[in-house]
Structure formats: structure tokens, C-alpha cells
């Protein structure tokens, strides 16, 4: 323990004396958040939705009206001509078609449930996934209104094949920025944590200072913990900066508990830092760390569900995501911040990431060699 304190003292001295480190720690998160949130949000154009209304009732009209009112849809009315609507979809002039069946209002009244049919141009998976997410949120909202008015308790079927969870996403204004901020914070702490720790360790190899450490009776775990804690603290600090910016600048609501979020983030960062250090124990210079690190990070980011829920991904991708730490944090941070999920809701993920943390740290300690 004492040994670790001496190591930490040295690491912090080095970090705070390094002119390049301070901007990386303090300015980078700001810039990244400000730029990426805008860039990622601009990506979304309005979704071209064609409504085929076969019911022509008050309720069906109101449902169509809800989509027209949404800032995310540009609605075209195709009357009850489904053929024409599908033609638009085929030509790429529409992204999505919603078919409200005849008898919609009647069935809703009687049974309390009814299906609407969705046809989605899924060439752009991201847009398709997002359209789905938005559309289901509007449906859920609509359904809530009806329930309040009529007192019915039964549920309305959502378009088949979409993820039921989406129905519960709590982002009532469908603000894509607010959806993206937690995702970008995940990227931020992941990249900062993984690369700072990995580059730091491999730099000691390049300079040869690690030899002087390896020739002492230091324990392997002491060395790894000494390398881990500084960047763990920095990444958690950056997470706080991100949350502050999100809260004050983007008016992002924080519905869940911050202690739960930080508890999860702490475990998550042990995974990331453990993996980063593991990579650097295998590499012999900074270039190698960058190559290997970026390879994993990019795969992990693309599969993490940052733009759209992982639930719309194919089965193999979801299987791969079992070992993708980013996918866990991406889900959990949005659940906590945007939905207000508590410890019980994320218990499964918490346990998984805890196990992963032990594995990643173990891997780093095991692979770090005092004798070559």
C-alpha cells in the first residue's frame, strides 16, 4: 500500500508537470463534447414519412397529426393509397410508411389495442433504427394520451419487430442532442482513459525507466495499480465535466442517481484502463499501442450502439457485444440519465462489468512481466 502511494505521488507529479497533459485533461473534453454533439446531431435529417390512413376517424387523424407536429418527421399524406406510398419508398422519396388500418379507432375503443403497420427503408440502418425509436416514442406518447382520456388500461401493439424497450425511453421532446450527450461522454472517458494509461506505461518502456522499477522488489499488482489510479481519477473527473456541460449547456435532464452512475463508471473504467494497460504490456512502443488500441476502440465504438440501440442489431452483433464494455456503459448511462433507472434496473450490467473489471485487471497484472 505504501509502495503504491509513492508510485501515485510520482505519477501525479509527472502528469501535472507535463504541459501537454493539462489541455488533454481539461480542454479536450470540452471541445469534444461541444463539437461532437453538434456534428452527431446535424447528421440527422428529417425523416420522410408517408401516412396511409385507412380509418379516417378522429383518433387516426390525431395520430397522423402527432407525427406532423414532431420536428423529426416530414409527413406526406397518401390518403388510403398504400400502393402509391410504397412506390415513394421504393424510389427513395420516403424513408418510412405508416399504415393505419381501417377500424383503428373502433378496435382501440373496444379492445384497447390495435396494430399500425410500418414499412421502413432500412438501407441506412442508423436512420431506420432512429426512425423506429422516434416513431415508437410518439406512439407510446399517443397511447398515454388515449389512456388518460379513456381510462383504458390495455396496451397498444407497437410495430412488430421493434424493441419494446424503446417504448419506455424517456426523452419526451425527442431531443437527439440529449440522446447523444451521454454517448459522447462514454467515448470521451474511454478514449482518455485507455490511451493515457496505455501510452504512459509504454513510454516508460521506451525511455527505459521501467527497468529501474522492474529491478526493485515491487509487486506486479502494485505497479499496475499505480498506473491505473491516476487515469481512473482523471477519467472520472472528465465524466463530471461532461455531465456539468450537458446539464447546464444542453439542458440535459439527469433523472437517475449520480452515485449509481459513478459507481458503474468506476467499474467500467477499471475495465478500460485494465485493457489499455494490458495492450501496453504487450507493445514495445507508442505506435503499437495506438494501432492496437484504435483497432479495438473503433470496433467497440461502432458496435456500442452510440447512434442507435444495439437491440436493432443482428444477433451476431449482440453476441459480440457481450464482450464489448462500451455497449454496457452506453446503455447504462442513458438508462440512468435519460430514464432515471436505478440500481435494480442495471444490476445485471453492474455485475457483468464488475466481473469484466476483475478479468481486465487480472489480465494486465498477469501479462506485465518483470522478467523478460
Amino acid at each position: 500500500m505504501r509502495t503504491i502511494l509513492f508510485l501515485l505521488q510520482k505519477e501525479f507529479l509527472q502528469i501535472f508537470r507535463n504541459r501537454l497533459m493539462l489541455p488533454v485533461i481539461f480542454v479536450l473534453p470540452l471541445v469534444q463534447l461541444l463539437i461532437l454533439v453538434h456534428a452527431a446531431t446535424l447528421e440527422m435529417k428529417k425523416i420522410d414519412l408517408v401516412v396511409v390512413n385507412r380509418d379516417l376517424s378522429t383518433w387516426s387523424g390525431r395520430l397522423a397529426q402527432k407525427f406532423t407536429a414532431s420536428p423529426f418527421f416530414r409527413v406526406q399524406d397518401a390518403g388510403n393509397n398504400q400502393e402509391a406510398a410504397q412506390e415513394l419508398l421504393r424510389k427513395g422519396q420516403a424513408d418510412m410508411v405508416m399504415v393505419i388500418p381501417a377500424g383503428f379507432e373502433r378496435n382501440m375503443m373496444r379492445e384497447g389495442e390495435e396494430s399500425v403497420q410500418w414499412l421502413v427503408d432500412a438501407i441506412n440502418g442508423t436512420t431506420a433504427g432512429l426512425s423506429y425509436a422516434y416513431a415508437s416514442a410518439i406512439l407510446a406518447d399517443f397511447h398515454r394520451e388515449l389512456l388518460q382520456e379513456t381510462g383504458y388500461s390495455a396496451g397498444m401493439d407497437l410495430p412488430s419487430g421493434i424493441n419494446v424497450r424503446e417504448r419506455y425511453w424517456y426523452n419526451p421532446k425527442l431531443n437527439y442532442k440529449i440522446f447523444m450527450i451521454p454517448g459522447i461522454m462514454v467515448l470521451l472517458v474511454t478514449i482518455i482513459g485507455m490511451f493515457l494509461s496505455a501510452l504512459n506505461l509504454v513510454r516508460e518502456k521506451e525511455l527505459g525507466t521501467i527497468e529501474q522499477i522492474n529491478v526493485t522488489p515491487i509487486r506486479k499488482y502494485q505497479f499496475i495499480i499505480g498506473k491505473l489510479i491516476p487515469f481512473w481519477v482523471i477519467a472520472l473527473f472528465d465524466l463530471s465535466v461532461g455531465l456539468t456541460i450537458g446539464y447546464f449547456l444542453f439542458n440535459m435532464p439527469i433523472l437517475g442517481s449520480l452515485p449509481v452512475l459513478f459507481a458503474f463508471a468506476s467499474l467500467y473504467l477499471m475495465v478500460i484502463l485494465g485493457l489499455g494497460l494490458f495492450i501496453s504490456t504487450m507493445a514495445s512502443n507508442q505506435q503499437q499501442v495506438m494501432f492496437i488500441g484504435f483497432f479495438f476502440i473503433i470496433v467497440f465504438i461502432l458496435m456500442s450502439g452510440i447512434f442507435t440501440s444495439t437491440e436493432t442489431m443482428p444477433a451476431w452483433a449482440r453476441t459480440v457485444n457481450i464482450i464489448n464494455p462500451l455497449a454496457y456503459f452506453m446503455r447504462v448511462i442513458r438508462m440512468i440519465i435519460l430514464k432515471g433507472s436505478g440500481l435494480t434496473d442495471i444490476g445485471r450490467e453492474m455485475i457483468a462489468i464488475g466481473i469484466y473489471a476483475v478479468l481486465a485487471m487480472g489480465l494486465a497484472v498477469w501479462r506485465y512481466r518483470k522478467v523478460t
Partner: protein
């Protein structure tokens, strides 16, 4: 002295290969307590390779090796508690100060805060570096850094210290000063294992082991080596040994 019966370093048939390249070829030698033992050899002779094995930094390919009575195969961590090592590549942390380096390594070796403060004071006094206590290592001249690295390598008062080309890149006068420091230390019965390719430095050793292409080609006191080869100085010895090879 009873200590002479048990060598502090005992090496039998030590071999290290990198793939098919033999960097250390069946080295056999003993180093007695309190000796200043030198490894002399040209670039690539295999000196660093041997030192790293003896320090428990690198595993040998084969051989029976004990350092301070511990086996390098199974007890490398015990060895590390009993030795100091100054590597060929300068290895103090350049971006922290003189005192911070002393404190770091003192702490890792388990010295108490008081011991660290006392020994730091002593060390800085001996080197005349009191005013440089809070200077970054990066802004010290090379000769001072080397003396400092040596002193920090023995901050925990080990029985053996390994110095791998400790005076690379400095002039003979600075080398001489460094060796005064080594003599002072060796008086307290510490064993010094030093590698070099400087002939003046070789003269300072109690006993020398001349290496060439991974093998030991001669081993004796500098005086007897000079006699044996009928040479004026170590430089001549070295040249004669090298000629014989051709």
C-alpha cells in the same frame, strides 16, 4: 575471511540465446564479497545481456546462477531486494526533481519517511548537490546524473551493485570522480559488478573478465593480465586479445 568461501555471485555455464543468436555462451565465473569485478568488452559482446540476467530482469536460457545466495531461476524477487542496478540507458525520471527521485526509489525499497529524508540529505551532501535538490533531472549535466543514479541505485544499502557502463559519454576526469565514489562505496564491503569498454576504467577493477562475442576470453587481475600478455596497459592487452582472435 569466511566470506570468501561463499561467492556473492556464482555463475556456471550461463547461456542466453535470442533465437539462433548466442549472446552469452557458457559463461562461468565467481565474484567474491567486496570485490570490484569488471566485465570488459566491445559493443555487442554480451555484457548487458549478462548483467540483466544476474539482476533478475531477463531469464537465462540455461545455466546455474546464484546471486547473493539466491537462485535466479526461482528466487529473482529475493535477489532484487539485495541488489542495486544502474542500467546502461539512463533511467532516473527526468521530469521530476532530484529529491523526488530519491524519495520514489527509497519508498519502493521500503525505507521509512525518516530514513528517506536522512539518506537523501547524506547523499546530496556527499555529491555536493544540496542546491540541486529541487532541480529537474533533465536539467542536470550528464556526469552529475550518473553519480546520482549510482547513489540512488544503492539507496537501500544492497550487498551488490550492478553498474552497466555507468560512465558512458563522459570525459576521463568525470570518470575518475565517479570511480572515487565507487571506491568509497566498495570500502563498506559492497560488491561492485561493473561493465565497461573504457580501458582506464578497466584498470580500476580488482578483477577483470574480458568478453568477446558472448564468450569469456580472459579473466584475472589487471596486473596479471598485463604480465601475461606482456603489455604496458589494458589497452594493449585488449588489442593483443583481439588480434589472437583473428
Amino acid at each position: 575471511m569466511a566470506a570468501h568461501n561463499t561467492p556473492v555471485i556464482d555463475v556456471k555455464e550461463m547461456t542466453k540465446t535470442f533465437g539462433s543468436f548466442v549472446a552469452n555462451d557458457r559463461l562461468t565465473f565467481r565474484v567474491e564479497r567486496g570485490e570490484i569485478f569488471g566485465f570488459l568488452g566491445a559493443n555487442g559482446a554480451g555484457k548487458t545481456t549478462a548483467v540483466r540476467i544476474l539482476c533478475g530482469l531477463s531469464a537465462p536460457t540455461s545455466g546455474q546462477i546464484t546471486v547473493a545466495g539466491y537462485d535466479v531461476w526461482t528466487q529473482s524477487e529475493q535477489i532484487k531486494r539485495n541488489i542495486g542496478y544502474m542500467s546502461q540507458r539512463f533511467s532516473l525520471y527526468e521530469d521530476i526533481t532530484v529529491y523526488e527521485n530519491i524519495r520514489l526509489f527509497g519508498g519502493i525499497y521500503g525505507l521509512s519517511r525518516r530514513q528517506i529524508r536522512e539518506r537523501a540529505g547524506e547523499l546530496l551532501g556527499r555529491l555536493g548537490l544540496e542546491n540541486q535538490r529541487d532541480t529537474l533531472i533533465a536539467s542536470l549535466p550528464l556526469g552529475w546524473r550518473q553519480k546520482l543514479a549510482f547513489s540512488i541505485a544503492i539507496i537501500h544499502r544492497p550487498g551488490i551493485v550492478f553498474l552497466d557502463e555507468p560512465t558512458g559519454g563522459v570525459d576521463p576526469i568525470t570518470r575518475r570522480q565517479f570511480w572515487d565514489l565507487i571506491y568509497e562505496t566498495a570500502q563498506s564491503l559492497i560488491t561492485v559488478f561493473v561493465t565497461t569498454h573504457y580501458m582506464d576504467e578497466a584498470e580500476y577493477c580488482d578483477r577483470l573478465c574480458v568478453m568477446d562475442e558472448g564468450r569469456i576470453v580472459a579473466m584475472d587481475t589487471p596486473y596479471r593480465l598485463k604480465q601475461q600478455y606482456g603489455a604496458q596497459d589494458m589497452n594493449e592487452v585488449f588489442i593483443k586479445i583481439a588480434r589472437k582472435e583473428i
